[in-house]
Symmetry: C2
Subunit: 253 residues, 2 copies
């Protein structure tokens, strides 16, 4: 009896159909019984601690992962020692799609804070997508979204100023937190100034100065990792003034 109770609680906590992220994730648009079939292949492992790796460059690819809570950083290590941050993955976002092509991961993924993920073994997912058309379509959509992100990124890294980059980054976080049900104006950064700089192609000193500058301009309130956006409009204006291609930099599904 107590045994049963524990199991059902466990299920309640994690089943796809009860998951608050379902609308951002693979089950989107699926019928109830299809969701259960997906649910059956999803593995819920214990949460990762800060610094734990989900996978590393060169690891053989077996699963894709959906962030349930926390943050995953993906990055590559250059031979000269420096790291290049490739992405920050918030709840509802998928990690690991890079490994499908070659069967090996081409970047590393580590937790920036305590992070829970759903692991989806890819070969079993492929069996399922072959029989559940809606799921196949959703996979194509998810992957297409990743490909679209590239467009925004090229504008951001190719043409934009440091100010525009940080503004775009903060707005992207804001929109994504909001879609997860958190405040769009007040949140904690789980990544360091150095990591933000690496992602945006800026020196960490520049990131630090810009936070100070945005605070002086009364656009933000910054207390180390804690950010409060005071003037969302001003941030938007920083983007649209010079270019408006950044819309799709990163937005929820």
């Amino acid at each position: 009896m107590p045994q049963t109770k524990v199991v059902s609680l466990e299920k309640l906590k994690t089943a796809c159909k009860n998951c608050g992220l379902a609308k951002l994730c693979l089950p989107l648009g699926l019928e109830n019984n299809d969701i259960e079939r997906l649910d059956a292949i999803v593995q819920r492992n214990r949460p990762l601690h800060r610094g734990n790796h989900l996978f590393q460059t060169g690891n053989s690819f077996g699963s894709i992962y959906v962030v349930k809570s926390g943050t995953i950083k993906t990055y590559t290590q250059c031979p000269n020692g420096t790291e290049q941050v490739v992405g920050f993955h918030l709840p509802g976002e998928v990690v690991g799609l890079d490994g499908i092509e070659t069967g090996q991961h081409i970047c590393s993924a580590k937790a920036l804070e305590t992070t829970a993920v759903c692991e989806v073994p890819f070969s079993r997912l492929e069996e399922l997508t072959a029989t559940v058309p809606g799921l196949q379509h959703q996979m194509f959509r998810l992957m297409s979204k990743e490909i679209s992100k590239e467009t925004g990124l090229m504008v951001l890294l190719g043409k934009s100023t440091a100010e525009e980059r940080l503004a775009a980054f903060l707005l992207s976080l804001s929109v994504r937190f909001h879609s997860y049900g958190f405040s769009s104006t007040e949140f904690n950064l789980s990544m360091s100034r150095r990591e933000i700089g690496s992602y945006l192609g800026l020196a960490l000193e520049t990131v630090s100065r810009l936070f100070t500058h945005f605070q002086e301009e009364k656009i933000l309130e910054v207390d180390r990792k804690h950010i409060k956006i005071l003037e969302m409009e001003q941030l938007f204006k920083l983007l649209s003034d010079q270019n408006g291609c950044l819309d799709r930099l990163q937005h929820p599904n």
Copy 2:
């Protein structure tokens, strides 16, 4: 009789199973009869002329396209008038995957020279991928490859010098031309200095100067659009000296 002959010639020219690009494209790894099923949904339209659009930003998404010959440039138009080049697509490469997510293309695609493409209606492709597991897997691989390109691009645009960027670009072209069966050391650029600059996040003047500089260093022989790589090793060295993350910038399937 003559009728039959014309048709069979036509087929010979275009059928997937006789296409020299099959190993770079969707049919990779498929059985003969599956290739024929794919072949049946592929549309071969008349070639595009220089400047013709395959699709434009905002167009509703219906098909993906595979370049058979020529070059397609994808780009976005920023409100301030300037364009950002997102990619150059050579024979064997797929264009249009960006549209799956939203059902609308988020960039424009135009021919830089006379260009032939195979059009694959996406809804029909999805029906086929649901019944041909190998094709579904190949689609996932193709899309994963596009996603992986992002990693190389972030290193290139975020950290690298102008010299490294152009070297990486030329090597990428070289590898891709080679995989298509052309010379890896001598080719014509179908894009302008301005377009290369936009793609690499550089001013066109910088691109021009670098070509001159590479020529002075005896690494290249440059005559307007015609490029001859004299010292492939030197180009590689320009990359690996400072970082080695650029391997996967863009390589054949």
